[in-house]
């Protein structure tokens, strides 16, 4: 999966699950302050990502440091590459 495909898939999750308009889905957007997610949303974000990418990230400590949408893209890219390796 390319970086572009990861971005499209993640953005789809934010549009479908959290009803965020596409134009607000920019890498610098803080998922809490700018996009309005809270702790419960992050639980469902993890579930949605696990379903979309076939990965297990619920216990991954790196999830806790995610702040921006760009952090999500980067994290998934790393995870996806780790899985592939």
């Amino acid at each position: 999966m390319t970086r572009e495909e990861i971005v499209i898939t993640i953005n789809t999750v934010f549009e479908e699950s959290f009803e965020i308009e596409p134009e607000r889905l920019v890498p610098d957007a803080n998922i809490f302050l700018d996009l309005g997610l809270d702790s419960l949303d992050t639980v469902d974000l993890v579930v949605a990502i696990q379903k979309k990418f076939g990965v297990q990230i619920r216990d991954d400590e790196r999830v806790r440091s995610i702040r921006t949408l760009g952090d999500v893209y980067q994290f998934i890219e790393v995870i996806y590459n780790e899985k592939k390796a």
Binding site: F18, E19, D38, V43, D44, V47, A48, Q50, R58
Partner: protein, 406 residues
């Protein structure tokens, strides 16, 4: 004791997305029973009919509130908003912690429970279950979502006694305001349709199975040709308020609740019992300090089951003889289960305020076991001001309430 009045009403029903749409449909004698492909697709299910409500405008509810709502909680929120607007509810007009929330449903969201197990059973993977599905599958999902949506901080209770859930919520709210512990309470019931709900009634031989090709005539309470109920969905929410409080803020009063009772029959897990129903109605009359002659209309529970309708008719005959007009609105609405009490109470109240009694749809030949009471088979003009609403539930649960229009 305080007096308790109704200052707001809201409903989402199989006949419309508001009280006025529902009343208009009743005025036009329309019904909401449809053949349902979802049911036809189920093996072993013989009843293919339902009375669905339309889910619309749900995105007007903020996502932060809506995310934990299933269909039934959305219906309840929409009905509560209508009741709130009619009541002119403004939190600052009430004391802190004195506006409560009491609501119920037969079960938590059957749709969400289905989705959870559809995901979990083949995978055994909890990592695929969403947090929000949990909040939709808790027993108090309707009441808690309502309280969150409206920001209510008063008394909270979830009444989950199947088809009596909604009327128990209203009755309990009435008792709390009457005792002076709350100034107002949003109360009522909600329900959502799913094949498992109809499946339960079909399994228990209580669902209509002979009218799959004739939905217009399927739901026929008290009628000789009835063969069971048709499941519906929706929500009915009332805003009950202490009378002096309502008067002080200049609210419009639509009706007053005079008495309530609910009891467990203790005789059979599924069959209605005429003595227990009669006892419940007698007790509510005593609580309301009314005599049978004070009641000008009875909005029956009658769901069109073979056993239940006969027992209710016999109980009404025992208490009221054949003097009081009786009808069941389930011929129009189907059986909206936990929402049926509030929805039918609202429809009855609005009808009486328009000097109308809405009839039992499809009642063309009263069954022998349902005779001895005064059935209403066509819209009647009335001067009645006081009515009784009945709701009964599996488990031998009975609930009755007396209301007077204002």
């Amino acid at each position: 004791m305080k007096r308790v009045v109704i200052t707001g009403m809201g409903a989402v029903t199989p006949l419309g997305g508001s009280v006025s749409e529902t009343i208009q449909a009743l005025d036009e004698h329309r019904h909401a029973i449809r053949r349902c492909p979802e049911l036809e697709a189920c093996k072993g299910l013989r009843s293919w009919l339902a009375a669905p409500a339309e889910l619309k405008n749900e995105k007007l509810i903020p996502r932060q509130n809506r995310r934990s709502m299933s269909r039934m909680s959305i219906f309840a929120a929409q009905a509560a908003l209508e009741a709130s607007q009619q009541a002119g509810y403004q939190p600052e007009l009430f004391s802190p912690g004195k506006v409560g929330c009491i609501a119920g449903s037969t079960t938590p969201s059957p749709i969400t429970i289905h989705q959870i197990y559809e995901t979990f059973i083949p995978t055994r993977d909890f990592g695929l279950i969403q947090a929000m599905q949990f909040f939709q599958s808790m027993s108090h999902t309707v009441a808690m979502n309502l309280a969150q949506y409206l920001g209510l901080q008063g008394r909270f209770l979830s009444t989950n006694a199947a088809c009596a859930s909604g009327l128990q919520a209203i009755g309990t709210a009435y008792e709390l305001i009457r005792a002076g512990s709350q100034e107002a309470i949003f109360c009522g019931g909600a329900e959502e349709f799913h094949s498992t709900v109809t499946g339960v009634f079909d399994m228990l031989l209580a669902a209509s199975t002979k009218y799959n090709d004739d939905p217009d005539h399927a739901s026929r309470p008290f009628d000789a040709a009835r063969d069971g109920l048709v499941c519906g969905e929706g929500a009915g929410i009332l805003f009950l308020e202490e009378r002096e409080h309502a008067l002080a803020r200049g609210a419009t009063i639509y009706g007053e609740i005079l008495g309530f009772d609910t009891c467990s029959g203790g005789t059979h897990i599924s069959e209605s019992n005429r003595e227990c129903i009669a006892q419940c109605m007698r007790q509510v009359l005593a609580n309301a300090e009314c005599s049978p002659s004070d009641i000008g209309y009875i909005s029956a529970h009658a769901t069109a089951t073979l056993q239940g309708d006969g027992e209710e008719a016999a109980a009404i005959h025992a208490v009221f003889s054949d003097t009081v007009p009786v009808s069941s609105l389930k011929g129009h609405l189907g059986h909206t289960l936990g929402a049926s009490g509030p929805i039918e109470m609202i429809a009855s109240l609005v009808g009486l305020r328009k000097n109308k009694i809405y009839p039992t749809r499809n009642l063309t030949s009263v069954a022998p076991e349902c005779q001895g009471i005064r059935h209403v088979a066509e819209i009647e003009t009335t001067q009645a001001t006081c009515f009784m609403k009945n709701s009964f539930a599996f488990g031998g649960i009975n609930a009755s309430l007396v209301c007077k229009i204002d």
